[in-house]
Each structure stands twice: as structure tokens, then as C-alpha cells.
Subunit: 376 residues, 2 copies
DNA sequence: TTGAAAGCGCTAACAT
DNA sequence: ATGTTAGCGCTTTCAA
């Protein structure tokens, strides 16, 4: 009985060290790629690692390094439907028939309207894609969280404070979302998708929405449309406001100061309702700009039901260039928002910040582009 | 200089203990809700916790409990497009023009076709929703991972072995996915969405696909359709096979042994292609069963383009009851797959297993139901 | 270049 | 019912 032959759980540094005949410290150095280790020893350690099937224990490592290599991806306020907000007073809600919303949901099920709605918009899938694509090569993975109630927000902050993740990527399309402030007040690193409505000392990526709307307006105008209307996004959201402002501005400059509009909520259904109203009030319109693709799709449906051909009778331009744009018949001419690239940049900003190389607050604004397809 | 006045980082158990005038152990008990603590002391500890702003450190806790309270949600093989598979030989790939796929992608961007495709199908959003809804009330959050290459699979296994997550929820729609076996071989807890194609000692949830297809067939038949065709899913995937088998079987029993079919890949585009072919070969068909909603939507588009009215000339039934079904014009009659409920059940099975109460391999099969809307 | 040793913050025996 | 103590597995000074 010289030494215990079989370690209990999975192999530890200690086991590898013993197998390689070196100290724990040396194994640690090799595993972490620290220089100043004799190549010969390096090799034997590597062999021992392979032989023992060693995997570093994350908790132990985190405990000392104070890093988890995990980051939280928080969806805070639905892009598709900002009505899923609980108690936190604040933003005016543009008239909309949001489903009743109770924070406490029974298990599983189609329960929470918020989480369900979130992925109904192709937008979030694209954000996830961009984030994952950036993180994955770096051995990191996002923890998915939702923060639509104040309770959920507290949980997100607690989660970060516990050191369960090193920082947060926050997609917050709701106007008066208190989460960004909560996070920064707690001194936690975070980066936002979209400019915060209240100025906050926090980095973010965003799109030049106004430029995008201008592109749409110019295209419709160049096409010869003269009776143009717009379906706006929710006007309590910066993206909704900016897209309208940019569109209206360009139209005004082009000599059409009066712009019929109907407010939507970035959902297909709201686009249908808005289009129906617009059509009832302005049966002669020949062009529509919808502030996102989902609403544009809804508009196309309604137009066809009312006997209008797209684009012959009415030209339709969307916004986002989401999967809905190509799925539509005719495929949508739309303003491209490079969501995946923006999401990746958001991740990059956070990682830079975590690496300490960049403590400054930065914002990166992306330029939209027009994608011409069949609808206009 | 009686005692150091200001602890360095965030407060620890020690700090709280000092503030409350008790030992670390007692604070730990209060924090973890262990009974046998004097209510009076409990109260003073709680006060001290609040006063210090204490948050338990997850890494330290994990190190001793050997649990992380994190679970991995792994997407392994795209439901929408199983072609995004790298090197792992095995499954026959039904003829399809998959994009070239290189595991190593440049940063961010629309890069990885796999991750991008995954969320193009509303299915995955529903899985996430169901999982999150179950986990959240339990203070847990899913870590999102993709495993479409053997390298990515190894990373998933390594991640779990490191103890970064307590177990995995695997959504694997690709036929010969080696991941389930890799995970169980490593002795790691996991639960699958959909039966593994190779029998594996692993719990899973699934749908009675054949019953669903039967529902679709019966509805079409009852409607009076007599020249019925089907757009199948990829036939190297159990769900694709089973839906076809169930449909064909019911049709045969009803006296229609010959069933025109075209294989799709669960994407809208493949549904369009399939429908066009079916229509060319059988211009007189009056009913179509598509093995998922996305393909049904594509079929509707093509039918309309060919001058067929839905449902008057051709009735269309989809499968899944995804958001695409209600977004479609006319809205799709479809077979409902309760994805959210199934995903929640999957999470429940995993948590039960982790709690040790249930070490047995279980499978839970859900029953589909018919949702009648406008298309059939 | 390598090893020894301290300690990250917590939980869980064990002792009281 | 509460306190004492021993680690969990790792990184990282500090010495050698």
C-alpha cells in the first residue's frame, strides 16, 4: 500500500502531476499554455493529461481566476411585442391589444407569452446566430436569459453578481427598459443592442435607422410612387421612431409633407391591421413602407385580399431583410439590417472590455443597405 | 486598527458572518434555507446579508457541491436542413443542394450556415421557449450550444466534463448523430428531443408522428379529396420517415395505395420545389399533406402561382402548428406538435435525473392533434 | 525553469 | 442549534 491507486472522481491536476512526475504547478502551466516550461516536460505532461483523461474543473478555475468564460445573452423587452412588460411603470404603451401578462407562469407549456413571442420574430434567432458565431471560436457560450419583469431583471443582475457569467449582452427593444441601468449601476460589464432610450454609460451597437428609412423612401419615389403611406413600428421604441423620422423627412424633402401612417407593433398581425386601416382611408395609395419585414408581409396579405397587386398596384418595402422577406410572395424589397454582424460586434465589444484592453464606452453604428426584390 | 474595515472585492460569507456576529456555517445555512436555525439568528443574518449586499459566489459553491445549476441546450443537426453536417460519415443524405460547409468560420457574420439555418425554423425558438419556461422558475438557465461538426461535438462533451453544466438537452434531428452516444458514453446526463436513430440508453421525448399523419390523411379524405399527394420531410430522419409511413398507411387503408410524393427538407424553399414537381406530374391533384408547416407554406405559394385556389381547388395540410401556420394565407390546417410542452418535459426529465430520483431511461411520447384552419 | 504553499469562497462533516 | 474545521481543484506568488 504505497499510494492510493485509483482516484475517486474525475482526474485532477494532482493525478496528472503524479503521473507525469512533476508538480501541480507545472501541469497547470502546461495546460494553460504558460511559457517557460521545458519542452521535454511539456511533452510528458501532455502525455499524462491524455493518459488520465484530465479535464480542468471550471469551478475551481473560476474560483481563483474570477472569470467564468460564460456570458449572458439577455432578451429584455420583445422586439416583436413590447407589451409583454409587467409592473414596471414607465413607457407609454402605444395602443395595442397585448395579451394579459402574468409574470408567474405554470411549468413549461406555451405559457409565457414573452418568451414565446420573442422567437416569433426572426430577429432574435439572428442575434443568437451572430453571438454564437463570435463566441464559439473563443470557447465561450451564451447563457440565454429573459428579463421582462422586474423580478426577472433582478435575477439577471443576481446571476451576474454571483459570477455565473462575466458580462451581459443585452437586447433591449423596449423603450424604458431599466435593465441596462441596473447592470451598469452594479458595476457589471454589458453591451447593448440598440441605443438605450435613457442615456446610459454603456457601450452599444446600433443601426443608422434613419438612413435605412431614407433608402426606402428614395426607392419608392424613384419607382414613381406618389401616394405613399407607412406602417410604423411601435413609436415608444427608438427604432420605431427613427425609421419613421427618416422616412418622413425624406418624403417631406421630396415634396410630400403629408404622410399617412398607421402604427404597428413589429408583428405580422399588426401589419395587417395597419394596412387595412391605411387602405380604408387611402384607397388610392401606391406605395407602402413598413418598418419591418413582418409587418410588410402582413401588408402584402391584406393588399392582395383587397385586390391590389404587389408591386404593380402598390409597391411595398420592408425593413430588416429577415427570413420573412425571402419567404414572402413576392419576395420583399427591404432595407437590410446586418443583425448577425451587429450581434458579433456586440460580443466583440464585451470581450474587449472583459480583457481590460478597452474600458471606454463605445458605440458602433452600422449602415443599412437596400435589397431590391420583387415587392417594390 | 482593530480590524480591516473594508473587504476588498464583493462581500463573502465571512463578511456577513462578522456583521451578524455568527459563524460562516450559520450564514451558509440561512442562505441555503437549511432548517435548524434559530429564527432570531435567521433574521439577523438576513439583515446582515442585506446590509452587506452579499451574493453567494457560484464558483465556490459549485466547487464543493459539484453542481453548477446550468444545463446545456445543444442543437445537433438542423431540423430545417440536415445537410449542414461536416465530416462524420454515416447517414445517407437525400439528394439536396446543401451549401458547402467549412467548420472553421471567420468571426461573426452570417458565416456559419448551420447556426443561421437553425433559427430559420420556428421549431427551435419553441424548444428554447419551452426549456426556458421550465428552467427559469428553478433558477436555472440554458447554455446554448451547437454541435454540427465532430469538433463541435467534442467541445460539447468537454464542456460537460469540465462541469460547466450539469447535463445536456439535445435536439438532434439529424439521423446518425453521434452526439447522444458520445455523451452517454462519457457518463454524462442527457435527454433527447426525438428518438435516437440508433438505439441508445438515453431518455427522450417524442411525438407520435404516425398518429399525426393519420389525422392529416383522415381530414383530407373526409373533406372529399381523392387525388392526394404528399411532400415528405427528409427521409433519413425518423420524423420524416414516420410522418410518411403514417400518412401512406392511412391512405392505403382508405383505398389509395398509390401516393404521389416528393421529398423536401423541411424548408419553405424545398416545399416549393416539391410542390412544383408534384403539380407538373399530377395537375389534377386536390389535396396535399406537407410534413411540416414551412413546406406547406411553400406549397401554398406555388399552388397559387399555378392558379389553384387553396382550399377550394387543392386542400393543404401542414404539420407542427408553428407560427408559419397562422402567418400563412389562408392559415394552415395543420397537425399540432406541442413543442413547448415537449421541451419542458425534456427539461423535467433531465432535472429529475440530476436530482437522482430517477436514474431509469424513460421516453415520453406526446400525442398530436389536428388544428383546422383555412387551408383544408 | 520548477516546486512549495497559500488561498479563492463555499459546504458539510463533525463536534459541541 | 451553532461553531470548528477540512477540504473542493485550481492558479499564482514566492523561493529555490
Amino acid at each position: 500500500m504505497t499510494e492510493d491507486p485509483r482516484p475517486a472522481g474525475s482526474p485532477t491536476l494532482e493525478d496528472v502531476a503524479r503521473a507525469a512526475g512533476v508538480s501541480r504547478a507545472t501541469v497547470s502551466r502546461v495546460v494553460n499554455g504558460v511559457r517557460n516550461v521545458d519542452p521535454v516536460i511539456q511533452e510528458s505532461v501532455r502525455k499524462a493529461v491524455a493518459a488520465t483523461g484530465y479535464t480542468p474543473n471550471r469551478a475551481a478555475r473560476s474560483l481563483v481566476t474570477r472569470r467564468t468564460d460564460a456570458i449572458a445573452l439577455v432578451v429584455s423587452g420583445a422586439g416583436a411585442d413590447p407589451t409583454a412588460e409587467g409592473e414596471t411603470g414607465g413607457g407609454h404603451r402605444a395602443g395595442s391589444a397585448g395579451a394579459a401578462h402574468e409574470p408567474e407562469e405554470p411549468d413549461g407549456g406555451a405559457g409565457s407569452s414573452f418568451t414565446a413571442q420573442v422567437f416569433a420574430d426572426p430577429f432574435f434567432g439572428r442575434v443568437v446566430t451572430g453571438v454564437v458565431n463570435y463566441l464559439r471560436p473563443r470557447g465561450m457560450y451564451p447563457v440565454l436569459m429573459f428579463a421582462e419583469t422586474s423580478r426577472a431583471r433582478d435575477e439577471v443582475v443576481a446571476y451576474l453578481r454571483q459570477g455565473s457569467a462575466d458580462g451581459a449582452l443585452v437586447v433591449s427593444t423596449h423603450a424604458d427598459d431599466p435593465l441596462p441601468a441596473l447592470i451598469t449601476d452594479a458595476g457589471l460589464p454589458a453591451v447593448l443592442y440598440a441605443r438605450p432610450s435613457r442615456p446610459t454609460r454603456i457601450s452599444y451597437v446600433d443601426l443608422a435607422h434613419q438612413d435605412g428609412a431614407r433608402l426606402a423612401a428614395e426607392h419608392l419615389l424613384a419607382r414613381g410612387c406618389r401616394r405613399i403611406a407607412t406602417i410604423t413600428g411601435p413609436l415608444d421604441v427608438p427604432a420605431g421612431q427613427d425609421r419613421l423620422a427618416g422616412f418622413r423627412d425624406t418624403m417631406a424633402r421630396a415634396g410630400q409633407p403629408y404622410l399617412p401612417l398607421a402604427e404597428g407593433r413589429f408583428t405580422q398581425e399588426s401589419g395587417e391591421t395597419a394596412m387595412a386601416r391605411l387602405l380604408a382611408e387611402h384607397p388610392d395609395l401606391d406605395g407602402v413602407f413598413a418598418a419591418n419585414d413582418l409587418m410588410a408581409v402582413g401588408a402584402c396579405h391584406v393588399l392582395r385580399e383587397h385586390g391590389r397587386r404587389v408591386p404593380e398596384d402598390v409597391a411595398v418595402v420592408g425593413f430588416d431583410d429577415s427570413s420573412a422577406a425571402v419567404a414572402c410572395r413576392p419576395p420583399l424589397t427591404t432595407v437590410r439590417q446586418p443583425v448577425e454582424e451587429m450581434a458579433a460586434e456586440m460580443a466583440r465589444l464585451l470581450l474587449d472590455r472583459l480583457a481590460g484592453s478597452d474600458r471606454a464606452v463605445t458605440s458602433v453604428i452600422f449602415e443599412p443597405s437596400l435589397v431590391v426584390r420583387g415587392s417594390a
